[in-house]
């Protein structure tokens, strides 16, 4: 036996390593992810990502600012038209907000507070078959904390997972380990949204709930991470099976993660 081990020392070591890794993975599936070495590795990779992305971004921004000015005039006109439209909408919304405040006061409800935001740049994207994460260019130096919501104008991006002084790691909606408390905007039906890598699934939706393709899914605010009413995605598929108490609801995220360059972090 000893002779065999000595003879095949390298193969035995490799086999032992594979077995250990397999055991580590099974332990984490049961007890949760290990975060050892996470901070030093992310600190080094985050620092290098900033260095690598800097010249690239500089070249791209020079290109955008000076070379691709072809359609600027037309775009400017369109933006001015959009500003005018948004101003009108904003006036109406402000009126509604004031009315809402007055009514809430009458009913003795707590006043709604607008959360402040920090604009962040996405400096790294890791959309691997195992996980979906982004690296953003701000960290604890900019008051970023764990579990803050990350959003764009289109909807929810994800939540902050690991915070370092200059960078942070963001878990996307589609990450298999990520869950968000949501509801269907049309009928306020609640559920739990879980990442499925390429899209998301709405869990714990009763068989009898009225969910239709095209329904907009928004945050319910019950998880304490995302404020209520942020767009999450659209229902693309509903499957009902007779013997199962819950429906299978597939949700396509509102945000196109592959094209994302900037986002906002909602401060608490």
């Amino acid at each position: 036996m000893n002779g065999f081990i000595v003879k095949n020392k390298k193969s035995v070591i490799i086999l032992l390593l594979f077995t250990t890794l397999f055991w580590l993975v099974t332990v984490q599936v049961k007890k949760g992810r290990f975060t050892i070495l996470e901070r030093p590795v992310l600190a080094v990779s985050g620092f290098l990502e900033r260095i690598i992305i800097w010249p690239f971004n500089t070249v791209v921004s020079i290109g955008r600012e000076y070379v691709f000015l072809v359609n600027t005039e037309q775009e400017n006109r369109q933006l001015k038209e959009e500003i005018s439209r948004l101003r009108i909408e904003n006036g109406v919304t402000s009126e509604l907000l004031l009315e809402n405040d007055r009514l809430r006061e009458l009913l003795n409800f707590r006043k709604l507070q607008q959360p402040s935001t920090i604009a962040v740049q996405i400096i790294g994207k890791e959309l691997s078959p195992v996980s979906s994460t982004f690296t953003i260019n701000k960290g604890s130096n900019d008051q970023i904390q764990k579990d803050l919501a990350v959003i764009t104008a289109d909807g929810v991006v994800g939540r902050v997972q690991t915070v370092l002084p200059g960078t942070s790691k963001v878990f996307l909606l589609t990450d298999p380990g990520n869950t968000v408390a949501v509801m269907v905007q049309r009928n306020r039906e609640e559920g739990l949204l879980e990442g499925k890598l390429v899209n998301c699934a709405l869990k714990y939706v009763s068989y009898y709930a009225d969910i239709q393709e095209g329904d907009l899914v928004v945050t319910s605010g019950l998880d304490g991470i995302y404020p209520k009413g942020l767009a999450v995605g659209t229902v693309t598929k509903v499957v009902k099976q007779d013997a199962v108490a819950f429906q299978t609801v597939v949700v396509e995220p509102a945000v196109r993660f592959s094209r994302l360059e900037e986002a906002l972090v909602l401060m608490k």
Binding site: K10, L21, F34
Partner: protein, 170 residues
């Protein structure tokens, strides 16, 4: 291969994968640089060294992508082992046909991961992932590897790095 080459690879693989490769992504699909590099290491060195390199690269990726620690270490280690075994049986590693094996490795690894996710988190859209992500990524990764091999061959890097330890392992 020399330790400093590995140190450099381990240090730069995540930053490069998550930054510069985004600029060449097509419909959100980008090539897997780590897998391409690992495949080349396997072809140049041998099964044991490539397996160890795969485990190291995988572990760094696990930490970098905040996923289960050891999972990519395991899958990448197996890919390294496979590439190393392939390397012992191939004479001309610059032959374009060889990158087909990388596409197979990439696809098999992806399917293994998807099955694991299916078992762990349940109801992952298996066929959507295969058709929409794994197959295009396998093709794109092979194309990148082909380009890297051609580039390295033209610059005589391959001759410099070439199988120093392979004879010992055989």
């Amino acid at each position: 291969m020399k330790p400093y080459v590995y140190a450099l690879i381990l240090m730069l693989i995540i930053p490069f994968q998550s930054t510069l490769l985004n600029s060449i992504s097509i419909f959100g699909i980008k090539p897997d640089l780590a897998l391409s590099v690992l495949f080349i290491i396997g072809l140049l060195t041998g099964p044991v060294e490539a397996a160890l390199a795969g485990i190291s690269i995988g572990l760094v990726q696990d930490i970098g992508s905040a996923s289960l620690f050891g999972f990519s270490g395991l899958t990448r280690g197996l890919v390294g082992l496979g590439a190393g075994l392939l390397g012992t049986r191939v004479l001309d590693i610059t032959n374009p046909v060889i990158v087909l094996f990388l596409a197979i490795f990439s696809l098999v690894e992806g399917i293994f991961i998807s099955l694991f996710l299916q078992a762990t988190y349940g109801a992952v859209p298996f066929f959507t992932i295969i058709a929409g992500r794994l197959v295009p990524q396998a093709i794109y990764t092979s194309a990148l590897c082909f380009f890297l091999l051609r580039l390295a061959n033209r610059r005589d890097i391959l001759r410099l790095l070439k199988r120093r330890d392979i004879q010992k392992e055989i």
